[in-house]
Symmetry: C2
């Protein structure tokens, strides 16, 4: 199981077909393989040994795809750096897994120039942007031009493929170790779970430093579909690219679907090539889905649930389950059923399996489960105890194996001995027309242990007071679940993947307190 | 990657759904898991340690499926015995890989009773047929009733899963070592290559001791489709089962398709449930295909090419490629394109890759390639040299990656320095209306090194002489390819999988001669 296999297959089966497109570049499989083999040679020339980590700090681009395949081809391990991080956070992750070579684009060159002073590991900066390399950095294109096209090191199976840093949502970043087999089986499972007609074209707008974007790119290449890489999500650019490239496959989060179809210029573009929209990170509501189905007639929708530790997908709601029908609402509320390679089970805090319908921690088993957290044996043992990955999410399974994610375990509030699932309270708050976004967290409370606290972003021009909120919530949920305090903000902290960073919201309240975990 | 995963998934997702059907038995996933876990306990009680081989000598049945899963669940390795073999051949394979426990059904109990006198390894015979166990054998059902349901040993990844004996076609049987990952990725690749709607029902008529039947059964269980097991191919029983069980998936060889649709009672049965027929071992001709498409309207046809060493499939011709159209004839003549997990290449005798269109040895690479031949390091190194499995088949790839199998390398005849592909000569002979079956082999010849020799089975009542054959062949092919000698027989030696055993035809001619190999 080697992730470079798709490059070999592309060159044998369709050498003149387009492999990657972006930033005005358009490589065929033959060209792409040549660049990958020479990047591998260049990295080896810079001292990369088998299993060494190589980082990349850049916006999405065709060179991001080269970075993944070229590092593996040369025997290395990728460390794709989260571009939203501060220089100190980046330096922490480079040092944590001893990354010595870092590829940097024009967008992050200034930030990268500060890293050598912060990171003990970093030795070589390679500039892969346009124009001449800044002082202190080597030129990517010059390295490639001079390097030999080396043979594929054929890293495979349990060989480490990537260290991907997660966290943000729960504090200290952890380097998730994913093997060649993790990604290989995960990608194959994705293809088995969602077959496609030949001849598709994929569009990648999710950041490639996140596992979702990375896995999407890998899956497109395994299907031998050309992949068009955009630096970020921007409505008009996405619509223009859909039309120009005849895109058939699109991965978005539900809010992006909404932004696309509500964009004033939506109707100006031809979207008829589109066949599949998959989405993740959150369920889609039935209203948005029916609007989207009307806006993209004939397009199939599917949802994925997963996380970095699971390479990333463990369950999906397929296209048939999105169609109108008696079970649609139930299926859409779920995170779907286990993908071909995954098993799911729900356990209590003592790791005993719970029966159907009971809420507990969601656990997963299968070849997509990470090898562990880099240099964190205790956290690894805890997360993988009993041979199952403990997701930290709470949920339940129904009698047909559909998974319902209730909440992050760590986001569950224990107030006066009662469990409060923040998602439930957030759903009630979201019914208020004045509320644009909201988050419910537990904050320390002398009497109740934790107190239910709401953070609310109002729609422009809206007015709302605590008394109104309290009365509204009482109408829907038990008193102990209702917020006992409310705070209004103009925005909520989001991760690069669009996930709400509840840890950041909680942190100021918990300074000096200790909070039970999980 | 663990093959028992499908049992765990079935029990979690659909415990009351049917898993296996046959011989009047019908187990749900819950029942099947219980029997598998108790068979594992029984085998451990009989001394099976992790990695030990367990054999089975039986017609297809639900207990064959239990044998596979139960042996793995208990930590063992399956050695499914070819039921066409003689007692001496069976004893050879048991001793070769040190199989100490053998499961036997009523059909082979008498044969099995002779094995302890022939095999040094065999220690325990377990009778899994109906009625009381013969003297000297333990009762399978009694063992299961008494055994504890043990936890899954979770053999996985590179752990050995099976030793499957091949050969027959080229002499001394070799034990092909297939790992859990080999079958796991092979099965997943099969699902990715040929998606199915949910709710299918599979019918298994291929022998489960062959890799094709075994992989089919594994794939059905991974899809969580009920599988109906028949002891052998018999037209009326197949048609009756299609109708009674609402079968959607069928795997046959082309001659079986022909026998089914030409059967006088064909029209008596309802075949409307059938959705997919996959076939292997040989291409299907366009005439038979169009007859079959008319007989099974709406059914999708697909072809697989592979071998035991490849777990077994490396290329497929998909349903779309079977539809009438300008490329149909070309696609049907091919063995299709590489499955998702496989790479194919063609090499010359010095292992140099050949360009598109040139004939050489077909090689394959990917996670489905066997671990090697049991106890045969030299043959293993030869077969796997350079990291590629050398199939022993000759063929070429076209510019779109379609594979064309020309002949077995070992069946190629070198006569007077010219290569003669026996398949080409056989195709010419088959045009004679008097010929029912034929085989072309090379036999020793003082002048030419090898001489082209034809073995022919005539149709009942037909008359044919050598002069007529020679004139016919000259009209189609070069003189050096035409048979220089002809032999008439009433039948040809076939393996259990229906493959022609050319080795057996050649053997008497080559006694005392040495023949170059492949």
């Amino acid at each position: 199981m080697y992730l470079t296999q798709c490059v070999h297959k592309g060159v044998r089966q369709c050498p003149q077909a387009v492999a990657v497109v972006g930033q005005g570049l358009r490589w065929t499989f033959a060209q792409f393989q040549d660049r990958v083999a020479r990047l591998a040679g260049a990295l080896q020339g810079l001292g990369m040994q088998a299993g060494d980590r190589v980082g990349m700090l850049a916006q999405n681009g065709v060179r991001s795809v080269e970075f993944f395949q070229g590092t593996w081809w040369g025997g290395g391990v990728v460390n794709p750096v989260n571009t939203r991080w501060s220089a100190r956070e980046i330096a922490y992750s480079l040092d944590d897994c001893d990354t010595r070579i870092l590829l940097v684009d024009a967008h992050f060159a200034a930030l990268a120039a500060t890293l050598p002073g912060l990171s003990a590991s970093l030795q070589t900066l390679v500039y892969c942007g346009e124009g001449p390399a800044p002082t202190g950095m080597l030129s990517y294109e010059a390295l490639l031009a001079a390097a030999p096209a080396v043979p594929d090191a054929l890293r495979q199976g349990d060989d480490l493929a990537a260290v991907m840093y997660t966290g943000g949502t729960t504090g200290q970043p952890k380097g998730v170790m994913l093997s060649q087999a993790n990604f290989y089986t995960g990608t194959l499972s994705g293809i088995a779970a969602s077959p496609r007609r030949p001849g598709g074209v994929g569009l990648v707008v999710s950041p490639l430093f996140h596992v979702a974007g990375c896995a999407l790119s890998l899956q497109l290449m395994r299907r031998l579909f050309p992949q068009v890489i955009l630096p970020a999500f921007e409505e008009v650019q996405v619509l223009q690219t859909l039309q120009d490239e005849g895109v058939t496959e699109l991965f978005l989060v539900p809010t992006m679907v909404k932004r696309l179809i509500e964009h004033p210029r939506f109707a100006d573009f031809d979207r008829s090539s589109l066949r599949n929209i998959s989405y993740g990170a959150a369920p889609i509501d039935a209203t948005l889905l029916s609007q989207a189905m009307a806006a993209f007639p004939g397009v199939q929708f599917s949802q994925s649930y997963g996380m970095t530790e699971l390479s990333p997908t463990v369950s999906t709601v397929g296209p048939d389950e999105h169609l109108p029908g008696p079970d649609q609402a139930r299926w859409l509320r779920s995170a779907g059923r286990a993908v071909p390679i995954a098993e799911l089970r729900i356990v209590d805090p003592e790791d005993r399996e719970l029966p159907t319908g009971q809420i507990g921690e969601i656990c997963a088993r299968g070849p997509m489960v990470m090898q562990g957290y880099w240099n964190k044996p205790a956290e690894t043992a805890e997360a993988l105890r009993g041979g199952w990955l403990h997701t930290g999410d709470s949920g339940y399974l129904d009698e047909e194996g559909y998974l319902y994610v209730v909440d992050r375990i760590k986001d569950m509030i224990v107030s006066g001995g009662e469990n409060v699932y923040s998602a439930e309270v957030e759903n009630v708050l979201a019914r208020l027309p004045q509320v644009s976004m909201c988050a419910v967290i537990g904050v320390p409370d002398a009497r109740w242990g934790e107190r239910v606290h709401a953070v609310i972003v109002l729609r422009p021009g809206a007015v709302l007071d605590e008394a109104h909120i309290a009365a509204h919530c009482r109408a829907f949920i038990a008193g102990y679940k209702c917020p006992r305090s409310v705070e209004f903000r103009t925005e909520l902290p989001l991760s690069a993947a669009g996930k709400l960073l509840k840890f950041n919201l909680r942190e100021p309240y918990w300074a000096g307190h200790s909070r039970r975990v999980g």
